[in-house]
């Protein structure tokens, strides 16, 4: 017991008080990866994990607090009287070069999408006969009520534009969050 205690306190010291002739046969390599070094490495790995989740955390924090939430200026698209049921009109929203398409589906039912095809950005047209949004480049089709692709190469839905009707006119008030 006493000897054990003494051994403990002198552990790691030189000369190592142990009566054998083999403990330092490979002296150069024997401390390369001992238990303590391995544990240090594990702590370092935990640190790497901690740091690597920080970006996700900051993005989530920004999303939750709404610091970087985009706001869009409302913009008048068309008068209700000038657009017949089943017709569509092109406009640009929110920027000058973000072309978009407004479709009047019913008396009070409007849908608008940014009409760059989610496949290769060709302009998407409203096909009244088919009742679908059609991309002529590779025959991609989108459901007009949801914006989801129904045929062809595109895999992602068209970004929907939030609309508001007021005093006989249709206004664009925002763009829905892009969903994958």
């Amino acid at each position: 017991m006493d000897q054990d205690q003494e051994q403990k306190s002198k552990n790691g010291q030189i000369p190592f008080p142990e009566d054998n002739y083999t403990h330092n046969i490979r002296k150069m390599g024997e401390r390369k990866l001992d238990r303590r070094g391995f544990m240090k490495m594990m702590v370092g790995a935990a640190g790497v994990f901690a740091v690597s989740t920080l970006p996700w955390g900051t993005i989530a924090f920004n999303e939750l607090t709404g610091l970087k939430k985009r706001t869009y200026e409302p913009k008048k698209i068309a008068d209700q009287a000038s657009l017949k049921v089943g017709d569509a009109i092109e406009f640009s929203y929110p920027g000058e070069h973000d072309s978009a398409l407004l479709v009047r589906l019913g008396n009070d039912e409007y849908k608008a999408y940014q009409n760059a095809c989610t496949h290769l950005k060709c302009p998407v047209f409203w096909s009244q006969e088919d009742g679908e949004l059609l991309c002529p480049c590779h025959h991609g089709m989108f459901d007009v009520r949801t914006g989801k692709p129904t045929a062809g190469p595109p895999k992602r839905p068209l970004p929907e534009i939030v609309l508001k009707t007021e005093n006989g006119s249709v206004y664009a008030t925002g763009v829905k969050r892009y969903e994958t």
């Binding site: 054990d4 051994q7 403990k8 552990n11 790691g12 238990r35 303590r36 391995f38 544990m39 240090k40 594990m42 702590v43 790995a45 935990a46 640190g47 994990f49 901690a50 690597s52 989740t53 920080l54 996700w56 955390g57 993005i59 989530a60 924090f61 999303e63 939750l64 994958t180």
Partner: protein
């Protein structure tokens, strides 16, 4: 001195939790559950001082 693997085993557990939390963070992020993302990311960050504490404890035990 008798060899003790307690620290190594505890740190392995910590690293396993790290992997689990990272995966859950990314998963929650993909599904836009930002509150969950924050919780898992905080777990991951807090696991680092825990591992440091385990290491210190094991080092000073000898």
């Amino acid at each position: 001195m008798k060899r003790s693997w307690r620290g190594v085993i505890a740190l392995s557990a910590v690293l396993f939790l790290n992997i689990v939390c990272t995966q859950l963070t990314v998963n929650a992020f993909f599904y836009d559950k930002f509150r969950l993302v924050l919780i898992y990311a905080a777990c991951n960050v807090l696991l680092f001082p825990v591992s440091l504490w385990i290491y210190r404890k094991e080092r000073d035990r000898a």
